[in-house]
């Protein structure tokens, strides 16, 4: 493998080339495309038919150190003639940089033909100009190329990009001992190298010329950042066997080994971010084409058993770079952390395969547990749209086991509700009495307040009416007595007011006493005489002292009215009258 023996073919002149058509060919051939400032360049203008009036270009930037040398060859092979005429110049460059060999012209059969201009790169002066080593390096440069092929230069974020590094070499040289000097790191990319088990030489074309090539390295990259990303170059150290002009004893060409460092793949990739419009809320960065599958190994079980739910996404895309949608289960199911499994193959088209999460779920109580559908969204870079996949809802039936003592019921009512013995989802109720949906509220309605207060109102109304009735049914005698009693009090108080005014005082006092007797003894004023009063009072068993006191006050009143005595003792009389009335009142 390392020794690639290849045949060498002559670069410039082909004396025995076969010319099929009589087409005119006139072209410029250079000994090298790159040379040091102190090196020489051979330029040949070759035509396949004889011409005249050859005009060379003015070799701008070069000095002509030899030529023009003219050579003509004419040969017949199998009766076919081939002709070649060449003008050769030897030049040295005058300055560094890219120099152009201009157009030369020739007149063949009366027509003017021109060559196309060719570019030459002039570099720094080399140490050993025109030495075999420099020549070998130059040949190696021209015949060995490293190319990085990038599948896409403007991918979407997370869309697979493949980079293939190909080592092209012409059949003139052979390549041995390739090793990597610098590996690209692919920062800002998720990268995967596709291993190449055996290097194979294939035929291909490089810039229109036939070349052999070896695919050295294949990488799949997933850009992780939007924007302009730069790929680091791959640098290889290659030993190249370059043919020399020398021949060995047997006439075989002697090859010279020359080391060569080549670099390729400093490329920039413009990564597009995913479109914002239509991006689903649950989008988690999956790009590619996928399929979602949610499976349960059982849908009916006892509460002591466990079951497994598998969430699987399969397809092609950045499978390792997104997380699976989380399984959501009712809170009363015990869900353990999922087991993650990946079955992914990576080839030039990207990652392919499936990732899955396996959840182990243990129901604690019996009942029906709906597992809500899972939604998984991805971006399809080919169709440039977001796609959402939904799994189906599953219903897990746990048919045996304890019933939930649901914590959400606690507090409000459940603490008092014995649910322990109930371990079955109850059947429907078969009896009902329907009531109107929208019922007028009774509580706090006016009817309610009326009903609440009416018995008490009734009570007070009845009590009031009863009292009024009692007042009406009192007999006239007692009414008169009450009236007299009131009058007695009235006169007594007016007597008190009139203390000091003799006449008015005694008048009031007398009236008070009379009225008092009227009230107490039920007598008329017509019966009013002292004897009668004494008699009546005695009948009521009054004490004699009180009776005499009463009579004496009456006499005093009369005396005071008619006799203008000066020694009146109004205060004492008043006090005596009050005492006597009080005493009589107790007795009667």
């Amino acid at each position: 493998m390392k020794q690639l023996i290849l045949f060498f073919s002559v670069i410039c002149f082909s004396f025995f080339s076969v010319e099929v058509a009589a087409q005119v060919r006139f072209e410029t051939k250079l000994s090298k495309n790159r040379l040091g400032l102190n090196e020489r360049l051979r330029v040949s203008f070759e035509m396949n038919q004889n011409g005249d009036n050859f005009i060379p270009p003015n070799f701008d930037g070069f000095s002509v150190i030899g030529g023009p040398n003219q050579s003509v060859s004419n040969s017949y092979v199998n009766g076919v003639r081939s002709f070649s005429k060449t003008y050769t110049y030897f030049l040295t460059p005058n300055r560094k940089g890219k120099l152009t060999i201009g157009q030369a012209s020739i007149q063949i059969d009366g027509e003017v033909y021109k060559t196309s201009p060719k570019q030459v790169e002039v570099t720094e002066a080399v140490n050993n100009p025109n030495s075999p080593q420099a020549r070998a390096t130059a040949i190696a440069d021209e015949n060995l190329h490293l190319v990085a092929e990038i599948s896409k230069t403007n991918p979407y974020l997370n869309e697979a990009v493949t980079v293939i590094y190909k080592l092209y070499f012409s059949s003139e040289i052979s390549v041995s001992n390739v090793n990597e000097v610098e590996m690209p790191k692919y920062s800002d990319f998720w990268s995967h190298l596709i291993p190449i088990p055996k290097l194979e030489i294939k035929r291909g074309e490089y810039k229109g010329e036939a070349y052999n090539y070896v695919t050295w390295r294949k990488a799949v990259l997933y850009p992780q950042k939007a924007g302009k990303l730069t790929l680091e170059p791959l640098t290889l150290n290659v030993s190249v066997d370059v043919p020399t002009n020398r021949r060995d004893f047997f006439g075989n060409r002697v090859y010279q080994k020359t080391p060569k460092i080549i670099t390729a793949g400093r490329r920039s990739i413009n990564v597009r971010s995913l479109p914002e419009s239509g991006k689903p809320a649950n989008f988690d960065g999956a790009v590619g084409t996928f399929d979602l599958n949610v499976k349960f190994n059982k849908t009916a079980l006892k509460s002591s058993e466990s079951f497994q739910a598998t969430v699987k996404v399969s397809g092609r895309g950045n499978l390792k770079l997104f997380s699976l949608p989380k399984l959501k289960a009712p809170s009363s199911l015990e869900v353990y952390e999922p087991e993650h499994m990946e079955r992914i193959k990576t080839n030039l088209l990207g990652m392919q395969g499936s990732i899955e999460d396996t959840y182990t779920i243990v129901p604690q109580y019996q009942g029906n547990y709906p597992i809500p559908p899972l939604t998984f969204s991805y971006f399809d870079p080919v169709k440039e749209t977001y796609v959402s996949l939904n799994s189906k809802e599953a219903l897990i039936d746990v048919f045996e086991g304890p019933v939930a003592n649901n914590p959400s019921l606690q507090g409000n009512l459940a603490k008092q509700v014995p649910l322990i013995n109930e371990n079955y989802f109850d059947f429907i109720k078969l009896e009902t009495s329907l009531i109107p949906l929208e019922k007028e509220a009774f509580y706090r309605s006016s009817r309610f307040w009326m009903l609440l207060c009416s018995p008490y109102l009734l009570y007070f109304i009845i009590a009031f009416l009863k009292r009024r009735n009692e007042n009406k049914t009192i007999d006239p005698v007692t009414a008169r007595q009450k009236y007299a009693n009131r009058l007695a009090k009235k006169y007594l108080s007016s007597a008190k007011k009139a203390l000091g005014e003799k006449e008015r005082f005694y008048d009031a006092l007398e009236r008070a006493l009379h009225n008092y007797l009227k009230a107490k003894l039920s007598i008329e004023t017509s019966e009013f005489s002292k004897e009668r009063i004494v008699g009546l009072l005695q009948e009521k068993n009054s004490q004699a002292s009180n009776i005499s006191a009463f009579v004496s006050i009456l006499e005093k009143c009369e005396a005071a009215r008619y006799a203008p005595s000066s020694n009146v003792t109004m205060q004492e009389d008043f006090d005596l009258a009050v005492q006597t009335i009080a005493a009589l009142d107790r007795e009667i």
């Binding site: 959501k328 289960a329 009712p330 809170s331 009363s332 109580y365 009942g367 029906n368 547990y369 709906p370 809500p372 809802e393 219903l395 019933v403 939930a404 003592n405 649901n406 914590p407 959400s408 019921l409 606690q410 507090g411 409000n412 009512l413 459940a414 603490k415 008092q416 509700v417 014995p418 649910l419 109930e422 989802f425 109850d426 059947f427 429907i428 109720k429 078969l430 009896e431 009902t432 009495s433 329907l434 009531i435 109107p436 949906l437 929208e438 009774f442 509580y443 706090r444 309610f448 009903l451 609440l452 009416s454 018995p455 008490y456 009734l458 009570y459 009845i462 009590a463």
Partner: protein
Amino acid sequence: MRTNIYLFILLIFPFTTLLGQSNTTVFDQANAAYNGGNYSLAIEKYEAILNDKLHSAEVYFNLGNAHYRLGNVAESVYYFEQAKRLDPMDKTILNNSSFANNMTQDAIDKLPETQIDLLQQKVLAFLTLDQWTIITLVFAWMGALLFFMYRWNNHIRFKRLFFSLAIIFVLTTLVSLGLTQSKLALNSIQKAVIFEREIEIWGEPNTRADILFLLHEGTVVEVVDALEGWSKVKLANGSEGWIQNSGIKRLN
């Protein structure tokens, strides 16, 4: 006095009137459909009863059962909650309701409650609002009756007895009135059930605000405020936030 007694009797039994004989047959048909496993038809028939502006705890309970059988989380929880509102003490309703709550995804821890709160809730759950109202009226009438007996009884011993009993009844009436009022307050708590599979709870009643947390189908929330298509909801664990009305269904 006689008319009062009639009125009173009318008050005690105002709800025993049988309404919609045809609807009871619809109810029986729905039950038969349920037993036959045709849950969708059963749901249709039960809803026909509700469309006739009639309801009962049993209709809601059976609807909840049918939805549970079909695995409809939100509907099932919703109808069991409705059934609980009408009959808060029924064991079978509570039992099946806990089954339905098992299907929900949100695990919400209740805030701890004091023993007094729990006792009050227990007492209030014992009777419906209407029953509490009737009890209050009965106490009030008993108190008034005792006052009458006190007033028109001549024996001093009975008078005393009736008077103290009357006072006790008046006080009981006041206590019962207070309980009825708190029962009304309890009933006026607006509750709602989440009907969206997953819905955001926002910090403000607009989508420019932050999303506070997510709720899932079947979770029961308390509605404390409302504004232009948004409702402020409170969870059992005390957290609050705004939710779009399209995602919830209110119980009352």
